[in-house]
Symmetry: C2
Subunit: 240 residues, 2 copies
């Protein structure tokens, strides 16, 4: 049995994207997993980093957000919405994000969930990153809906690579950074324009992926052992 | 004389990042430009795409956000905060973004500014993208503060390339996509840890960049002429 946290944000609750999120919940619950589900629209989550979220600051004069995050966590004074998400992140071994691609990235609601809930000290900090991050040993999967078509991406595509290029900030810079093993993302291409049959086929594929996350390949990530104490690359001898 | 729109979001108004935004405003105003400045914290900008921002929807039953954006714009019924930003974007020939790097991307406040204000029909749509986007002939510059150090980036760096890798979604996928000529970004490295003298030096460098945007090189972008009517790459004959 696994503990799964599913995070979702789409402004239309009857969208294909919302169906993907619900199906992920259904499939993992049926499997016997412990599943928590955060729909950021239903929760009315506030994605904005704000001084006012800290009731008792370590420095009332000058805001350094990550320092106040650490201070609030140490004093059990995190904002309730952040505490709830942090608890779900820490207890779960699998994170599943489901969202529509906006500007080759996550919607602001999910961006702000990272900004506020990916907590220094708990998820990362100092040299606790990548294979030494706080979430090592856990898996993250991403399901994305988009209007674009597959031929627009890749080395010859007009937008270049999607998973390795446009989404590097998310897959490596956020999920990989805190230590998750990041599964190759699932893309529901061309969703607004495709047939019901095609949508049904994609939804079934997504369900298979969600059910078999443990068997899916991970995206390679940097390893701290290849860098020195200030994260400079270790020099390697040239091949003779 | 140029028309410049400056967009900024940092939760601490005395931060180095806020100083960069204010200095950009000062430098361009002194030069005689027409400058508008949006500090998203001061404006309390809402970064979340919401059905409720449309008072008169084209489809009350099912939300397709970009279709409602187009409908609202055609009926002069955009939300006032969006209309204000759209007007500033359309009237300006230069856009300057100043923000702290959060998770190798913009803060949610700026992400949501793209999600809500980068308007289909006006800034992009159909095959109006890259060198045929709505903002062709305009310049965009980006000033970013971060805790990381320069040696953590680049081909050998632990995080890989910053401008061409982690920030591709912003520089190409957002600013380049709508047609801006995108200047190589300015990075204020290691800001929380460096000396006042080093910060003064970086601020002076930033001011020079802001003053000389017209002379700065652009990041290369895809050209629509290299792709067919469904944006498939045109096949090129192999070299003999």
């Amino acid at each position: 049995m696994a503990n799964v946290h599913i995070v979702h944000a789409h402004p239309e609750s009857r969208s294909f994207c919302a169906a993907m999120a619900r199906e992920a919940t259904r499939v993992r619950t049926l499997r016997g997993d412990d599943v928590s589900f955060s729909d950021h629209y239903a929760l009315d989550f506030d994605p904005v980093v704000r001084a006012s979220e800290f009731v008792d600051r370590s420095d009332n004069d000058y805001l350094v957000y990550p320092l106040e995050q650490r201070h609030a966590r140490e004093h059990h004074a995190l904002a309730p919405d952040v505490q709830r998400e942090l608890d779900a992140l820490l207890i779960s071994d699998t994170l599943i994000l489901v969202f529509p691609l906006y500007w080759f990235s996550v919607p602001a609601l999910i961006k702000g969930w990272f900004d506020r809930c990916f907590m220094p000290g708990a998820l990362y900090g100092g040299k606790r990153l990548y294979d030494r991050g706080g979430m090592t040993g856990k898996r993250a999967a991403v399901g994305i809906t988009l209007g674009g078509r597959e031929h627009m991406f890749g080395p010859q595509g007009i937008h270049g690579d999607l998973a390795g290029g446009m989404l590097r900030h998310l897959l490596q810079g956020t999920l990989g950074y805190v230590g998750y093993q990041v599964i190759e993302p699932f893309f529901a291409w061309h969703v607004p324009y495709c047939s019901d049959a095609e949508r049904a086929r994609m939804l079934a594929q997504w369900c298979v992926l969600v059910e078999t996350l443990n068997e899916q390949p991970h995206i390679p990530m940097p390893r701290l052992g290849d860098y020195d104490e200030v994260l400079r690359p270790l020099s390697r001898p040239l091949m003779p």
